[in-house]
């Protein structure tokens, strides 16, 4: 299978590549519209700033190809900021449009608990999840963020609680995303990546 990691000059590509390699999976980096158009599965990793990510995608003319790939049924996995980029907008960069795969916006977590939300936390599953298939219900995942999607309608399949209840796992048809870093989440995270790749394979 041809797995492409969207490369936009930021993010944590090497750690995602290594996590896939540990599962025996090869991946390549895609930084052009052509490269995005010719793969079986896409992963959008991300760390940093919502506005910087969207501007980088824009400068590389990757926004429309990404949307087109999703519309044509290519499975997409967003990680951390990659999840946030799927929304219409974010408090972190008012005025910058997101990919708009979901109409809601990303909000700043309220400072009721320590921020950033940094470290290992558990999930609250609210709907059946393909990504969490086979993952123990008490598993911990690694988070590092101060912004989050508080609502994604039916697509929010698992939530997490820190300062507020927010979307930790997002699934809708061929679109998947996690607010946590599966590539940094030990065996539980490896299972999530493996589930994504397996689901992507079924689409062929």
């Amino acid at each position: 299978m041809n797995i492409a990691l969207v490369e936009y000059g930021a993010g944590n590509l090497p750690s995602v590549e290594r996590a896939l390699a540990r599962l025996g999976l090869e991946s390549r980096r895609a930084s052009t519209p052509e490269a995005l158009g010719s793969c079986d599965a896409l992963i959008l990793p991300g760390v940093g700033h919502f506005g910087a990510l969207m501007r980088s995608l824009g400068e590389r003319s990757l926004v429309k190809p990404l949307r087109d790939a999703v519309a044509s049924g290519v499975p997409l996995l967003g990680i951390c900021l990659g999840l946030q980029a799927m929304f219409a907008a974010s408090d972190e960069a008012v005025g910058d449009a997101g990919l708009g795969l979901f109409p809601q916006k990303v909000s700043a977590l309220p400072p009721t608990d320590r921020l950033p939300h940094m470290g290992w936390n558990q999930l609250r599953r609210v709907r059946p999840s393909r990504l969490l298939d086979g993952v123990p219900s008490d598993a911990y995942f690694y988070f590092a963020h101060s912004y989050a999607a508080l609502d994604a309608g039916e697509a929010g399949v698992a939530l997490c609680d820190h300062s507020a209840s927010f979307v930790a796992v997002l699934e809708r048809e061929n679109v998947f995303a996690t607010q946590f870093h599966p590539e940094k989440s030990g065996p539980a995270g490896a299972q999530v990546l493996s589930n994504f790749v397996r689901r992507a394979g079924e689409k062929q």
């Binding site: 090497p14 750690s15 290992w120 101060s146 609680d161 940094k184 989440s185 030990g186």
Partner: protein
């Protein structure tokens, strides 16, 4: 369901090899960083810190290679630091495979560096490391590997560092470092109360009781230790089991 308290093994290196010392002096070799990283990744560490305590310019490429070798062994987050003087130093460390970087001496000299690093990489990637020593009725921040006093109050500095952009504080008690006499809970609690970012306690780790204390009384979000893990005096699994039995939320593994 709540955020787990993190247990973080720390690899102090001379850039290439893990070294050990008591209260920042008398360094001796303690092993290969990548081999230790592989062991801690399996044994249930929640994160790993690797520091270049020599931090000399000449050895920079060597340390970056060490970060690469360590990161290759990990499916958990990695924090790296030592000698970060500017945004380019930070970028090199993150590109080598670290998720977060620590800043110490340079941030005290130029606090705006914290702002610049946070703007470039996000505050979640910027850890302000403070080496503090009891002086009279307060704690003073020291720099250059704990050798130079600054006259700056460590607790006030932590608070200001967060305002400048730090997303986490790593507080090391120089009085306790390497002594195995317990964390400085008073220092850690004072720091923890002065900021709203996560606080990692360091210096003085010993038996599981010392970790319980620093989480309960020191209000730490994470606890860091080196030699008790390197020398297998304390196993990560049994430490976490002990903490879990004492109602501290931890990520149990294996």
């Amino acid at each position: 369901m709540s955020l787990a308290h993190r247990i973080i093994p720390c690899l102090d290196t001379d850039g290439e090899r893990v070294v050990k010392g008591v209260q920042f002096v008398n360094l001796r070799d303690a092993g290969d960083p990548a081999a230790l990283a592989a062991r801690y990744n399996i044994e249930g560490a929640d994160e790993l810190v690797v520091l270049d305590i020599a931090a000399s310019r000449d050895h920079r490429p060597t340390f970056l290679e060490t970060i690469r070798r360590v990161a290759a062994e990990l499916a958990i987050p990695l924090t790296a630091g030592g000698g970060v003087n500017n945004v380019d130093d930070g970028r090199a460390i993150l590109r080598a495979g670290a998720d977060k970087l620590t800043v110490n001496t340079a941030a005290i000299r130029h606090p705006e560096l914290l702002t610049a690093l946070a703007a470039e990489f996000g505050s979640q990637a910027v850890v302000l490391a403070i080496d503090a020593k009891r002086v009279g009725d307060h704690w003073e921040a020291f720099v250059r590997g704990g050798s130079v006093p600054t006259g700056i109050d460590a607790v006030a500095w932590a608070h200001r560092g967060v305002e400048y952009g730090a997303g986490e504080i790593l507080i090391t008690s120089m009085d306790r470092d390497g002594t195995r006499s317990g964390f400085d809970c008073a220092l850690t609690a004072a720091i923890s109360r002065s900021v709203n970012v996560p606080v990692i306690a360091s210096g003085g780790a010993d038996a599981p009781e010392t970790f319980l204390e620093v989480f309960r009384e020191g209000l730490a979000d994470a606890a860091l230790a080196a030699s008790i893990f390197h020398d297998r005096i304390q196993g990560l699994g049994e430490l976490k089991q002990y903490l879990g039995e004492h109602a501290i939320s931890v990520r149990q593994t294996g």
